[in-house]
Amino acid sequence: MSLQQSIIRQFDPVAADYATSAVHAAGADLAALVAALPAHAGVALDIGCGPGHTALAIARHVAAVVAIDLSEAMLAQARLLAQQRGITAVRFERGDAGHLPFDDASFDVVTSRYSAHHFPDPLQVLREVARVLRPGGCLLLSDVVAPPLLVADTVLNAVEVLRDPSHVRDHTTSQWLTLCAAAGLPADLLGTHATVLQLEPWLARMRVPAATAEQIRRVFAAAPDEVRTTLCVDDQSFTVTTALLRARRA
């Protein structure tokens, strides 16, 4: 199975659960992303829109939004949510972040929230974003980042991939800044948010089998103190950091 097929297989069945997930539907990181939108922006592109939380949140602040995702079920969920909220200036499309189906310089803003850890080749995605952005346009990227402490980075990505086989990697903030610069999108870190993830709902949202959930608990239990401190691990929860980056197309 390819990574793309894995992502679809992972997210198609849980689309409805993501539509109601509090972590995804709201959260301080979403408010920060909306606040970072440029004033009077024209058309925005949301990459990896999932059930549409970000696309619909920004729709009220830009002229129009195009939202893409690999998962058909997520797109159906997103369109339903748009109808429920009476938001019409948003269009949905099945598309791949690494091969964006848009003309050059089509967007003023590109957003990606909680999806970048699925990019198989983030540099290629960022180059595509640079291509479809108008000069002066910006990318607002928000995702869980790995801590600078290498061993905590390893443990975080280990539990992530156990939970979700289509997980590629939570990069560190400095890796993202380097990648953005390499793609011609010099970036700044606008802020970070700590999110406490309760283990039970976090595992349930991905319908993790009991045996795998047990493995994840064991990885946390066996993790050295530095990791437990960095990720604030206890029996019920752990804490991840979400970073919001703004990258500008020169």
Partner: protein, 119 residues
């Protein structure tokens, strides 16, 4: 005195009506950035379709490109009434499923039709 009051009422009524109309137009403009483009041609196959129709809007069509060669794609309706986005350079056809374009390279390749390539 009576006439003056009636005139005043009529004027006030007109004012309220004008404001309501203004708000309605504003709302319509806000809602129809995609549906009502400046100078863009109307959707070829749905000139009088209802507002809830699930065809691709001209604005989206204008920025859509083939995910591979990034060139333009053309909206084509086949004999069964299905909509496709066609790359005339290589014959790739991308399905439009319930108004949602499926712009994945493997989909385009799967439905490729060489007869659609224009010389």
């Amino acid at each position: 005195m009576w006439k003056f009051l009636v005139r005043l009422l009529v004027l006030a009524g007109l004012g309220v009506l004008a404001y309501a109309l203004y708000r309605a137009i504003q709302q319509y403009r806000e809602d129809s950035v995609f549906d009502q483009g400046s100078g863009a041609p109307a959707a070829p196959d749905a000139p009088d379709a209802p507002a809830s129709n699930r065809s691709i809007s001209p604005e989206l069509l204008a920025i859509l490109a083939d995910p591979g060669d990034k060139g333009p794609v053309e909206l084509v309706r086949d004999a069964d009434g299905r909509e496709w986005l066609v790359n005339r350079r290589n014959g790739y056809r991308y399905p439009v499923d319930d108004g949602i374009p499926i712009m994945l390279l493997e989909e385009g390749e799967k439905h490729r039709d060489e007869a659609l390539i224009s010389a």
